[in-house]
Each structure stands twice: as C-alpha cells, then as structure tokens.
C-alpha cells in the first residue's frame, strides 16, 4: 500500500475487531459473529452490525421494523445473550519489551 494509506491502515487495524454472540450454556445453539469498530478504548466502546442480535430479540426481528423505532435498549435481547469481542495485537509495544515467542508454532513445509 502507498504511504498515503499508512494512517488509514493503522487506524483500521487498531480499531477493527470481531464480535461474536452465543447463548449462555447452549453451545449447540450455535454462534453468530460480525465485524466491528472499537470507537473508544477507555472506556471500551464498540460499534458492530446489528444482524447478529436478531436471534436474541425478545420480540423477534419484527421489532426492528416497527414504525418510529430508531433504537432498542440492550434489554431487548434475551438474558442468555453472551457477547465476546476480539481484536488484534497492538500495532506497537509501548513498553518496548521483546515479546515471548509462541511455543509450538511452526510453519511446516508441504
């Protein structure tokens, strides 16, 4: 990528994350995931797509199309909704420490 992209690439990779949703104690029910953006680190605030929440809506997906509804509070989803956010490693180590190598990681030749 050209140099003009360096700030955008840095911002994108630092703020990109994955959000996954599942039912507490019911792994067999499956999980849903999408991408997201960390809009604030302290406190940690993430914007992601709403599609992964439709299976958890108490009133069903119809509540998304009710006239005049622009938002739904978090408790619109069932109590057994469990969310996890995963992001990448920091772009640079602020402490400057050498990082430990991951044991057992190798690249076998095919």
């Amino acid at each position: 990528m050209g140099r003009q992209w360096e700030p955008s690439t840095r911002a994108a990779v630092q703020s990109g994350c994955v959000v996954s949703a599942c039912r507490a104690g019911r792994p067999e029910a499956g999980s849903w995931s999408c991408s997201g953006v960390i809009v604030s680190r302290s406190p940690g605030l993430v914007l992601c797509h709403g599609g992964i929440f439709t299976p958890f809506l108490r009133a069903g997906s119809g509540s998304l199309t009710e006239a005049g509804v622009a938002f739904l509070p978090g408790d619109s989803c069932r109590d057994d909704l469990r969310l996890h956010v995963q992001w990448g490693p920091p772009a640079s180590s602020a402490s400057g420490h050498a990082e430990p190598e991951r044991p057992g990681v190798c690249t076998p030749r095919c």
Binding site: R10, S35, L45, L47, G50, A70
Partner: protein, 460 residues
C-alpha cells in the same frame, strides 16, 4: 480494488489478546439511512434486490432472508468492561478513539479502505482485520456505496478515508448486493457520523444514567464544518457523465461537447429519435436532443451520437486520450444500477487489456465494476483525467447465466475522436459512417471470437 492480505507489523507475530466479554448497550439504526434504503431498494425494485450473505440461488429460508433484510440498517453499541487479561500496552494504546469523518466531506470517487473480518469469528488468526481498497462509488444521504470488495462477516467493519487521514467514514451494512440474481460488486455502507449521532441521542433517552455518560465519550466528528456539509465535488471529470433516456430505454453517456453526447447504440438505437439527457452535476438538468448517428446493428462499435437542443451548462468536456497504458488506474462513471434514483456511480479498477488490430486499439477492458445502465458511460484515466473510452458491455457466461461486472469492454476514444471532431466542426457525418465499415478483424474481436486464420491466396 481487490482484497489484500492483512497488514501485519514486521517481525514476529504478536500475541492476540483473548476474546473479551462485552455487554449490549443498545441497538440503533440511522433513520435517514433507512429512508434512503427504502427509496433506492424498496418499492417495485424490492424483488430484484438481495443482500443475503449467500448467492441468490443458495438455500436460505424466507424467514432467514427476511431477518437479514430487517436487520440490514441496524447496528449495535457494546461496552467492553475493563480488566481481564488485556496486555497493559493495549490499555495504553495511543488510539483512544477513532476520528470520524463528517457526512459529506468525502467526495464520490475518493479512495476508501475497508477493514473487516471475513467470516466473522471464524479463524481470526487468518482473517481478522483484512483490508480491501476501493472508492466511494455513490452517495444517498448517509447511505454510501463502495466498490471495495467485502465478504460475508465483514458487516459492521469500518471503512476509512485516505483524506481526512485515517478518519472513519462508514460501517459496512451489507457486503454483498445482488440485483436480478446478478452480483452487483458494490458494498452497502452506513455513514459513521449520523450513526454515532443516533447513538448519542439514543443513549440520552435510555433510563440508565451510565449509558448517558458513555454517550459523551463517543467520538465526535473530526473537524466538523459549521452549517451544511461540504458539497460533493468529486473528481472534475466525473461530472461529464450523463443519463440518456430514449423512450423506455435508459443508459449512460458522456458530454464530448456542450451540445454533443456520446452513448451506445443499444441505448439510443434509431437515428432521428428524440432523447432526453439528464446531467446530475453541477446541477440537475434535463435537455432534449435527437440521435444524429447510430452505428448499424452489425457494426462492432456500439455507438450513438446525440445532438442537444441546448448547451449542458457547467458540464465539463473531457480531454480525449491519445494513448492507453495497460495496468493504469481507471474509473468508470455511469448511472448503472440506480438510474435516476441517485447520481452516477464511480467504480475503480485498472485498464486490464488493450486489444489492438493492426497496431490500433479497438477494444479496452477494465476491472471496474460495470452494471446494467452503465452502457455509454465514460471510462477515465485516474492519472490524467482523460477520457479513454465508452463502456459498451460487461460479460455474461451464456452457459451458466453468470454475469461478471468486473470484466467489461469499452470502445477506445481514439476510434471515435477524428470522426467526432469532424462532425463537431463541419456537421459532416461521413467520418462516423466509416465506423460501420470496420474491418473483419475488429468484428471478430468484438464477437469474442478467435482471430481469423491466414487463408492462403489462390494463385488463379
């Protein structure tokens, strides 16, 4: 504008923090996005459009597809509580909050960088934060379209601008769009600024005081202009594209002189027929004209020339290119997909092939996404802004019915320019009529046939 490998810092891979639990604060939608979505994709056209994460022929229950459609314009604000096993350097990461581009500050045609994780949480070691580049193809309020290629699972991913550097422009609403069972090759986005505004407003209305405090911490718009947003300037050459309406048929065209528009024969096929030409930039106007020349049905060059009754005020006349360089970055501007419902779309790519006959270019191929309705639209060089050609078609596999928007064919402007100049100066159509006498090898090229073998001459 294809998917590119994830950018990784040089050296050893850094350990990825483990997934962190989060809580849902609210689900939100941007009302203006929903209104524009309903206008562009709703009504009669609704049956033609699909935004599913799978191809239209894949099995997806009606209920699942309905759910996806209902949730398309919805996003979620989550909170990640502090603690856990987060490495301390992440907590101290410099990017405390993203910068957000105000709506309207990124013009059509501007380069964009999409960052998402294809297939969501599947194999983050490989797919987390994969980058893809493209341009801002079209704008309808907070509903944006990009030709950066995105995949299922990138919904919610951020789309960033090169200018303002690193500013968050939008979030992916639907990575894949299908119209009439054909992949359109554009990704649907919701602008970030109005979405965050909606989040702030919603948080204040929640009964939870904590949520209201968090709303104050949502990132503001960077360098927000006072009053109305900046006008959508875009590249100056993009304004040369016009919409051409001939009876019930419509397509695109390009103004090559104040009263002269070039389009395709299959858009305006009959000489002397009346044509209505709409320009979108700098202002929306419609001017009547008539077809002064259209190539014959058997002519390989699918071209028509329209003479207008009035000047197209303010519409720039592009400079015709004299040379073509394979691999050069190019853009197609056309009214494909949306027609009059929205301004012209800009799609980016490279000049992938210049097909020559006897050392003269007779066909241009590009990797830009080209859709039905783009025919007649201009192909521009991104480097010089020169007009390279006129889009004539994209590609369809007759065996499978699949369309390929990223392989398309244009008539080089060098084929047309001498005749157009002669007509502009003298009104003489004879140069244009010469196009109907294109040599057989040119016909073979445009029929996508193999070159004719050299036939041995008879000695008789």
């Amino acid at each position: 504008a294809g998917p590119e490998p994830p950018t990784r810092a040089a050296g050893r891979p850094r350990p990825r923090p483990p997934p962190r639990p989060a809580e849902l604060l609210l689900l939100l939608s941007c009302p203006a996005f929903r209104a524009h979505f309903a206008r562009l994709f709703g009504a009669e056209a609704a049956e033609q459009w699909h935004f599913a994460n799978s191809a239209p022929h894949d099995e997806l229950s009606e209920e699942e597809e309905e759910d996806q459609l209902r949730a398309l314009g919805w996003f979620a604000l989550l909170r990640v509580p502090p603690g856990g096993e987060t490495p301390p350097e992440l907590e101290r990461a410099p990017a405390a909050a993203v910068a957000v581009a105000p709506l309207g500050t990124v013009p059509k045609g501007a380069p964009l960088l999409a960052c998402g994780s294809p297939f969501g949480a599947f194999c983050p070691d490989i797919f987390l934060n994969t980058l893809s580049r493209g341009v801002l193809s079209n704008v309808a309020g907070p509903l944006l379209l990009t030709d950066a290629r995105c995949l299922p699972g990138t919904e919610g991913g951020g789309v960033f601008a090169a200018r303002p550097a690193g500013a968050l422009v939008a979030l992916v609403a639907a990575p894949l769009c299908w119209k009439a069972r054909e992949w359109v090759g554009l990704t649907l986005l919701c602008a970030a600024a109005p979405l965050l505004r909606a989040a702030r407003a919603a948080a204040h209305r929640l009964r939870c005081p904590e949520a209201s405090a968090l709303a104050a911490l949502l990132p503001p718009e960077a360098g927000s202009p006072r009053g109305s947003p900046l006008p959508d300037l875009g590249p100056p050459w993009a304004a040369a594209a016009v919409l051409v309406e001939c009876g019930t048929v419509w397509g695109s065209g390009v103004a090559v002189a104040p009263r002269l528009v070039l389009t395709c024969r299959h858009v305006a096929p009959r000489e002397a027929s009346k044509v209505l030409v709409h320009s979108a930039t700098p202002k929306s106007v419609a001017v009547w004209g008539h077809v002064v020349f259209a190539t014959q049905e058997v002519c390989p060059y699918d071209i028509a020339v329209v003479s207008l009754e009035e000047d197209l005020d303010g519409v720039p006349t592009p400079v015709p290119a004299e040379h073509f360089h394979e691999g050069d970055p190019v853009s197609v501007v056309g009214f494909g997909v949306f027609g009059q419902a929205c301004g012209p779309s800009v799609t980016s790519g490279i000049l992938s092939a210049v097909v020559q006959v006897e050392d003269a270019p007779v066909m241009l191929q590009t990797t830009c996404a080209v859709h039905g309705g783009s025919s007649g639209g201009p192909l521009f060089s991104n480097r010089s802004g020169d007009l390279l050609g006129i889009v004539a078609s994209n590609t369809r596999d007759n065996n499978t019915g699949a369309a390929y928007p990223h392989l398309n064919f244009s008539v080089p402007i060098t084929v047309l320019q001498p005749a157009l100049q002669r007509y502009s100066q003298t009104g003489d159509l004879s140069g244009l009529r010469e196009l109907d006498r294109a040599a057989d090898p040119v016909r073979v090229v445009w029929r996508l046939q193999r070159p004719l073998p050299d036939v041995p001459r008879s000695k008789l």
